[in-house]
């Protein structure tokens, strides 16, 4: 946690060599990827991969994207090898992140082309699913950003999502979708408040409090669904928010279906990310919140009420997570199942770390996870030789790789995870 603000000479040199080593490692990884692409994806592959970009009744039809599989893979391998060799020989620190990102993108593209060789497959559909699947992760990540910026580690996102999903289904079944949504947000906020009370007022270890809240929500929701829903099925049959097309914008090929033919959860997530960014980095209270996360003593000395700031931010984070939780029921299937969030809250937490504690970063990371998730779903239909279980692991593996910091080490708010005791 100790950040070196003024690195002395030897330390600076040490940092430099570490960076050069990282650049070299990136080069090795890229070269390995190139070998993989050349031998596994290009070798012995034939036929064209057809990516459908528009659906039959779209207003502006776009021709299909047809890619010759073998040629594409060899070109990708060549580019990867070039990038890797350049990175390895020159040790270019500046380009490490960029080459790595571009290289991974190319490798994924080569993989997709290889998997679709000789078949056809709707790229637009996959991108649309990417955005949909990114929503709960992005909202979870946003909730994480809001609370960790005031130095409260929020492992309880998973539980808040689950609580939101449960409340959305229950209240939505009884009083309609909009009331259900509001109730989900309120319950999410309630759990945010409980977390805040436990860690701020009662000074419970933050990770323990989060884990406990998760266990508690899982217990309560599972108990009610097995005790009550078995007999009273009408309590678990909520309306689903349908996609709303945005006029004109939704007609744009590829981007239209991806961004502008979605339901209110997708729009809500984008709007919230924008608002949160504005709040955190362009308003006075956002600056205060960040000050509380970086150096609570200093903030307190300046007259900022540390406890109140933390309470408010963590409660709002809970509300965001509650909204994200409602996506699981009101935004997709309309009914609640035990443990239906499947660890997406934790992936949201990972998205926050990968996104470097910035709302937009978290959104981008969530889109990467959403992409991995929707890709494995689509590829399962294409019947690749890879067992479906390993495809299903890809979002988790992506999380580990990203968190392990191939893209570079991120820095948490300085006071993250520590209780503040006012003197």
């Amino acid at each position: 946690m100790a950040s070196t603000l003024n690195p002395t000479e030897p330390q600076a040199r040490k940092l430099d060599t570490a960076k050069v080593r990282q650049a070299r490692n990136t080069g090795v990884i890229l070269i390995l990827l190139s070998v993989l692409v050349a031998y596994v994806f290009a070798f012995g592959t034939s036929g064209d991969a057809t990516f459908r970009l528009s659906r039959p009744n779209d207003p502006w039809a776009v021709p299909n994207l047809v890619v010759p599989a073998m040629a594409f893979s060899y070109i990708a391998a060549a580019v990867l090898a070039f990038l890797g060799a350049r990175q390895f020989v020159r040790g270019g620190v500046r380009w490490t992140g960029l080459s790595m990102g571009f290289g991974l993108l190319l490798a994924v593209a080569a993989f997709l082309v290889w998997a679709t060789a000789g078949k056809s497959f709707s790229l637009t559909g996959m991108l649309q699913a990417t955005v949909v699947r990114a929503v709960p992760i992005a909202l979870g990540g946003l909730a994480g950003v809001l609370s960790e910026r005031v130095a409260v580690v929020n492992i309880a996102i998973e539980g808040m999502l689950l609580a939101g999903a449960f409340t959305g289904a229950l209240v939505g079944s009884l009083l309609g979708g909009y009331v259900g949504l509001i109730a989900a947000v309120a319950v999410g906020g309630l759990f945010g408040f409980i977390l805040a009370a436990l860690v701020i007022t009662y000074r419970v270890d933050q990770i323990i409090a989060g884990v406990v809240l998760n266990l508690f929500v899982l217990g309560v929701t599972s108990y009610v669904s097995s005790q009550v829903y078995q007999e009273h099925r009408f309590l678990n049959d909520a309306p689903v928010f349908r996609p709303v097309d945005i006029p004109f914008l939704s007609d744009i090929p590829v981007i239209g279906p991806m961004l502008f033919q979605q339901n209110i959860f997708v729009y809500g997530a984008f709007i919230m990310v924008c608002i949160a960014t504005y709040y955190l980095f362009h308003t006075r209270s956002g600056l205060r919140a960040r000050a509380v996360g970086e150096h609570p003593q200093a903030a307190d000395t300046l007259g900022i009420n540390v406890y109140r700031t933390r309470y408010i931010n963590v409660t709002v984070a809970g509300m965001v997570a509650g909204f994200g939780g409602a996506w699981f029921t009101l935004g997709s299937v309309g009914r609640f199942d035990e443990g239906m969030t499947h660890g997406l809250g934790y992936i949201g937490l990972a998205a926050m770390i990968v996104g470097r504690w910035h709302p937009f970063g978290a959104l981008m990371a969530a889109l990467v996870f959403g992409f991995a998730d929707s890709m494995q779903q689509k590829l399962a239909l294409l019947q690749t030789p890879i067992p479906s279980e390993f495809l299903a692991m890809s979002p988790y593996i992506a999380t580990i790789i990203l968190v392990a910091g191939l893209i570079g080490r991120a820095r948490a708010p300085a006071a993250d995870g520590q209780a503040y005791i006012k003197e």
């Binding site: 419970v204 409090a209 406990v212 266990l215 108990y223 009610v224 009550v228 279980e389 988790y396 080490r409």
Partner: protein
């Protein structure tokens, strides 16, 4: 039952660490936590339309099902064994400042490895086959957790995230392994492994009373592990290094301890314990592997390690309590028709109150010294 446990632990703990504050933290707080959790559990039942008579019956069933008969005690001990094993690993992790949420996955991988060794090697004598299968479970779990430890030490990836991801991957990995022809039972289309050979099964202990009693010799493995962890943590240099790097990583590094290596070793040890717990389930209770045979033991283990304050003896007590709750909860579902998921609520509530001594002090101002110090975080 609870009171007995509390009294026993009180005696032990007073010998280990006398003092009023410790007594309150170790005994009074857990006691209140259990009582309040049970009361709140009753409210949860009331809220879901369960009448008072049924609530009474379900709590009686809870007691009868956990300690009311030989078979109940056998069930309690059977349920407690893997819980204690897995949470011992967790406790060592906590002591070293590592939060390993991955016990569930390590348990699955370890149990799976034990099954694979258990149904192979026909004709091997039991005194060799059984330890081999247990060892396979421990090693597989340790290696799986070691990944997270290595990631933490080498790249700084937080172990909470990586162990959660490894958990999610382990479910899929087990599904995949169970679909392999060398593992899947002949003539079955569903994911189920071949049965463990007799020579690798943990022998049942109480078959001479009633063949249905499931208590098996994993109990001794568990007790040995408790003793071993106690010795490791408090009597060896290694244990001292674990605790030192958990209490103050910077100071430990200045004292010349290799923090990276300690992280990897601690994670691997925690994983080995969880793997042993998994082996214990597959070799002792189930006799085969199916998807999700871990049944949330790995997550309960977190709670138990917290409840037992990461002390081997505390973990043993807490594990017995949770085992009793689980065995009793099944009886409760049968007798009173109240869903066994209620137990999860009660367990979570117990942990909340244990983890928040300040909260308990506020709810119950009596029972504590007037000038009670603020709780130790």
């Amino acid at each position: 039952m609870n009171e007995q446990t509390e009294k026993f632990s009180e005696k032990l703990l007073q010998r280990a660490a006398p003092g009023r504050v410790e007594f309150e933290d170790m005994v009074v707080v857990p006691l209140f936590a259990v009582i309040v959790a049970l009361i709140l559990g009753a409210f949860a039942m009331l809220a879901t339309d369960v009448d008072l008579a049924t609530i009474g019956r379900s709590y009686i069933a809870l007691v009868v099902g956990s300690v009311g008969s030989v078979s109940a005690i056998s069930e309690t001990l059977t349920a407690a064994t893997p819980l204690v094993l897995a949470s011992l690993g967790m406790a060592v992790g906590f002591r070293a400042g590592l939060f390993n949420i991955g016990a569930e996955g390590q348990l699955l991988i370890g149990g799976m490895a034990a099954v694979v060794v258990g149904f192979n090697f026909a004709g091997m004598p039991a005194y060799f086959h059984l330890p081999l299968a247990l060892l396979a479970g421990a090693i597989a779990g340790g290696l799986y957790a070691g990944i997270a430890g290595w990631l933490r030490a080498a790249t700084g990836a937080h172990e909470v995230i990586s162990t959660i991801m490894l958990n999610l991957m382990s479910y899929l990995l087990v599904d995949y392994i169970l679909s392999l022809p060398v593992v899947q039972r002949e003539g079955r289309a569903d994911p189920i492994s071949k049965s463990v050979l007799d020579s690798a099964e943990l022998p049942r202990l109480l078959e001479w009373i009633d063949p249905n009693l499931r208590l098996h010799s994993g109990l001794f493995v568990m007790l040995a592990a408790v003793a071993f962890v106690y010795w490791l943590l408090f009597k060896t240099t290694f244990g001292f290094e674990f605790r030192a790097s958990g209490a103050n990583p910077e100071a430990a590094r200045y004292a010349g301890m290799r923090s990276g290596l300690i992280i990897v070793i601690v994670m691997a040890f925690a994983g080995a314990m969880a793997g042993l717990a998994g082996a214990n389930q597959t070799l002792g209770v189930l006799g085969r592997a199916t998807p999700g045979f871990s049944a949330g033991i790995g997550f309960d283990a977190i709670a138990i390690a917290l409840l037992g304050r990461s002390h081997p003896v505390g973990v043993l007590m807490a594990g017995l309590l949770f085992g009793a709750l689980e065995a009793g909860g099944r009886q409760m579902q049968v007798d009173a028709g109240v869903s066994v998921d209620l137990i999860a609520i009660i367990q979570a509530l117990i942990i909340v109150f244990i983890a928040a001594p300040l909260l308990v002090r506020k709810i119950f101002p009596w029972g504590f010294q007037k000038k009670a110090r603020a709780g130790k975080e």
